[in-house]
């Protein structure tokens, strides 16, 4: 414990062992997976080629020489050593053949020899399948595909003539490309990913391992994580290359191995953990109720939300298992990849696409910046006005000016919506009183934005005012006196005394109000409701609309996750500025 060196050595040894094991496993599984993938591709290739031939032969109809010509022509486009034969069941005839042995006496067309019975049997079997398929709902594929030991594909496909099967095209075809080249299928991208995983996992293992000094646990955890990680990766690679069935067994092997390792370590850790738990049992007992609540109703929903952002969940399929409706990054691609803010309207003119993510993002930023600017400037001016010495009735003014903040903001929003009413709203009456035309506030994006801005400005300035006022009153008066003695003008006093003194109070307040405004759901939702046509939607109301008006839970969750990412970036930045979380 006192000497960290042995622990570090053991940790690195474990890490090294984990890396070696992981690389070996990954190599083996990748090989298995790619082999599986290659086979699938070759099979598809061969089948497609033979289908092409069968169509030509069917087109030739009863004309046997035409069929033979089609076979010869087809042969030229195929890999070397391909052998094609056309067999008719009726009369057991070999209509055409490109087998080098079938020349001279044995040249097609002729009757099948006894040693060619397997050709005849395959054709008959295919005819049987075709007959059965006429009755069955579930069709059996009308094909006979095997892969010979030497890597040659043996494919037989029936020839239809007048609604029934008359024979078969029987082809022995080597794979189009040498297996060595095909084996490289996962490509450099997948390999780079494997390398990245190999780098990322030790880091992951390192985070919990740092605390468990003096045991082999970290090493074993590292190994276990590698095994699990690469097992999943191998399974993914296998699926990606199409060899799902072949990839499954290494996957289960890896999962079992990894889980066993983790369980081994886990039992050791559990003992240690239990010890720590027992020693701090009082503290844990006190935090437990709150923690349980938070985990169930805050943290779990949060991660569950991120999980459903990868699914196509809607109100209609909430009870389906998530793996059935998994869509991967599709939503994120749709949201972030759609950069067409401008789109062509029906009449060909360019119009803004208000549903676009980037439009909403820009609008949200404009909304936040203008609101915070207004809030700060109005609040600061009022604070300066209230701070004038000897102001009569100052406490009363202060209370009256705080009222907008004290009002529940949904009520404020509905009040302002009423005041901006087109026909009966007082704002339009006031405009008419001044001899102006009344305005349909919610018909234009800009005027609609103004209504929300007025509402939010009204309810947000008191916070800034209170903060600034508090800071102003804590500035010692003798600072100003000293400045006056030095002959500073009022503006100079404001610049070099007032503003710097306000800064420590205003910066956190501004940071806070940026997040508030960014997430100011009620005002937008209740005042403009996004009118007209979603132009004044901010990110958070847009996400709500996707979720609870269109019921696209998965898409809305992805949208919200993007918002969270934006806020996270902002939070990191704000933490840098304020160092708020230091010294816990």
């Amino acid at each position: 414990m006192t000497d960290p060196a042995p622990h570090a050595a053991r940790f690195h040894a474990g890490l090294g062992a984990g890396l070696a094991l992981a690389l070996a496993l990954a190599w083996a599984w990748l090989a298995a997976a790619t082999a599986g993938g290659t086979e699938v591709r070759e099979r598809k290739d061969a089948l497609a080629a033979v289908h092409a031939l069968s169509i030509k032969v069917e087109a030739a109809g009863a004309d046997e020489s035409a069929a033979a010509a089609a076979v010869t022509a087809w042969q030229k486009a195929q890999p070397e050593r391909t052998v094609a034969r056309v067999v008719l069941v009726n009369g057991a005839r070999l209509v055409a053949s490109t087998d080098p042995a079938d020349t001279g006496d044995a040249a097609a067309p002729r009757r099948l020899r006894l040693d060619e019975k397997d050709l005849f049997d395959r054709a008959k079997r295919l005819r049987g399948i075709a007959e059965e398929n006429k009755q069955e709902v579930e069709k059996t594929p009308e094909e006979d595909v095997t892969r010979r030991e030497d890597g040659v594909w043996q494919v037989a496909i029936p020839i239809h003539q007048g609604g029934s099967v008359v024979g078969a095209v029987d082809v022995a075809r080597p794979a189009a490309r040498p297996a060595a080249v095909a084996g490289a299928a996962p490509g450099t991208g997948a390999r780079a990913l494997a390398a990245l995983l190999a780098l990322a996992l030790p880091l992951l293992a390192f985070a919990p391992a740092r605390r468990l000094r003096g045991t082999w646990a970290p090493a074993a955890v590292a190994v276990g994580l590698f095994a699990v990680g690469f097992g999943s990766y191998a399974a993914w690679a296998a699926r990606a290359t199409g060899g799902a069935a072949e990839g499954a067994s290494p996957l289960s092997a890896s999962a079992v191995l990894g889980l066993a390792l983790l369980a081994l370590v886990g039992s050791g850790l559990a003992a240690r953990g239990f010890h720590a738990l027992w020693r701090n049992r009082v503290a844990y007992a006190y935090t437990l109720p709150a923690m349980v609540g938070m985990v169930i109703l805050v943290f779990f929903p949060f991660f569950y939300g991120i999980v459903i952002s990868f699914t196509g969940q809607t109100i209609f399929n909430v009870n389906q298992p998530l793996s059935d409706i998994w869509v991967g990054f599709t939503h994120y691609k749709d949201i972030l990849g759609d950069v067409a803010i401008l789109k062509r309207a029906g009449d060909g003119s360019l119009a803004l696409n208000y549903g676009n993510f980037y439009w909403t993002l820009v609008f949200t930023i404009v909304w936040t910046v203008t609101n915070v600017t207004i809030g700060v400037s109005v609040g600061l001016v009022l604070a300066l006005a209230l701070n004038v010495k000897g102001l009569a009735l100052r406490p009363i003014y202060r209370v009256l000016l705080i009222l907008p903040w004290a009002m529940p903001n949904y009520i404020t929003a509905l009040i302002w919506k009423g005041m901006f009413h087109r026909q009966f709203g007082v704002v339009n009456y006031a405009l008419m009183l001044m001899g102006l035309e009344p305005i349909s506030w919610f018909d234009q994006p800009f005027t609609s934005f103004l209504t929300a801005l007025a509402t939010n400005g009204w309810l947000s300035f008191p916070f800034m005012m209170v903060v600034s006022l508090g800071a102003l009153q804590s500035i010692p008066a003798d600072l100003y006196e000293a400045a006056r003695v030095d002959g500073a003008t009022r503006w100079q006093q404001f610049r070099s005394i007032t503003l710097p003194s306000l800064k420590p109070a205003l910066v956190p307040a501004i940071i806070l109000s940026v997040v508030w405004t960014f997430n100011m759901f009620n005002i937008i939702f209740l005042v403009t409701a996004g009118e007209p046509g979603g132009a004044t939607e901010i990110l958070i109301t847009q996400a709500y609309k996707y979720a609870f008006q269109q019921y696209r839970y998965g898409y809305a969750a992805a949208y919200s996750t993007v918002i969270f990412a934006l806020l996270l970036v902002y939070g990191v930045f704000q933490n840098r500025v304020t160092h708020a979380t230091e010294g816990i």
Partner: protein, 273 residues
């Protein structure tokens, strides 16, 4: 400026006392003169009447909504503050593995955007647990979302209570539970009261979760009910105004009393978002 600030408030007061449902302050003749228009922007009712206040309780289910709000907010406060007190005490007094992680996770949880939480919460509470349109569902959601803020507020206060007091109690032979209940909690009474009032106010003013979870009209909370008066095809501005005044008055006074704690709590280190 004071007038601009007060105008919307006077407006809603005027409509609440107008006795009608119109949102115009005064009825205009077909060809309004300047004087008519001036009358229509002055926030004073044409006929003073308390009819809206009587009617909103008598003819509308507003009393029921108010009761829902009171029950939900009170339950939220009790549950949230109790959970927060114990957790904050542990965070303040004990040093244990996971303490820092726990506090940070509480802080980070405040950054989760509402809608990201709303979708999974809706699925969990309404579709899995079947607690849609139930008070319990809302109480659970409100209490857990209030915990982080309460924990941070209370932890800050617990830190200021001298440890010597508890050490003295230990000397007298008191166990941890006894110390918590008889020494720490009574000392922290002011902070607990303020925290409780804040969580009450937050639950009282909450709109969007309630609007999403409460489908049945008789389970609406007051905010959802007020929106119901003037949303969609309903234009009962008189009911809305009277209801708003009733709902706002307690919280406005509460807020005026509490705002000095709020400002110092928010700006002194908290990064609540």
């Amino acid at each position: 400026m004071v007038l601009v600030t007060l105008y919307p408030l006077l407006w809603v007061l005027t409509i609440s006392f107008s006795g009608g449902q119109s949102l115009a302050l005064a009825a205009l003749p077909p060809q309004p003169t300047k004087l008519d228009l001036l009358r229509a922007v002055i926030p004073w009712p044409q006929a003073l009447s308390a009819e809206n206040y009587v009617s909103v309780f008598r003819d509308q289910p507003f009393a029921r909504w108010l009761l829902n709000s009171i029950v939900i907010s009170a339950a939220t406060t009790v549950l949230g503050v109790f959970l927060a007190c114990t957790a904050a005490y542990a965070f303040s007094r004990f040093r244990f593995p996971g303490r820092r992680t726990g506090m940070m996770s509480f802080l980070v949880s405040q950054m989760f955007p509402g809608t990201l939480m709303l979708i999974p919460l809706y699925i969990i509470i309404v579709q899995w647990l079947g607690l849609g349109s139930s008070r319990l569902g809302l109480v659970l959601v409100y209490a857990t979302t209030a915990i982080p803020f309460c924990v941070w507020m209370l932890k800050g206060y617990f830190d200021t209570i001298p440890k010597e007091l508890e050490e003295a109690a230990v000397m007298e032979g008191a166990g941890p539970a006894r110390i918590f209940w008889t020494v720490v909690l009574p000392l922290a009474r002011p902070a607990i009261a303020i925290t409780a009032l804040f969580s009450f106010m937050t639950a009282w003013n909450e709109f969007i979760v309630a609007a999403t979870f409460m489908d049945k009209e008789d389970m609406y909370t007051a905010p959802v009910g007020l929106r119901f008066f003037v949303g969609g095809f309903s234009q009962s501005w008189g009911y809305f105004a009277a209801g708003s005044v009733v709902v706002s008055i307690p919280v406005v006074f509460l807020f005026l009393y509490l705002q000095k704690y709020l400002v110092s709590g928010l700006t002194a280190g908290s990064v609540k978002g």
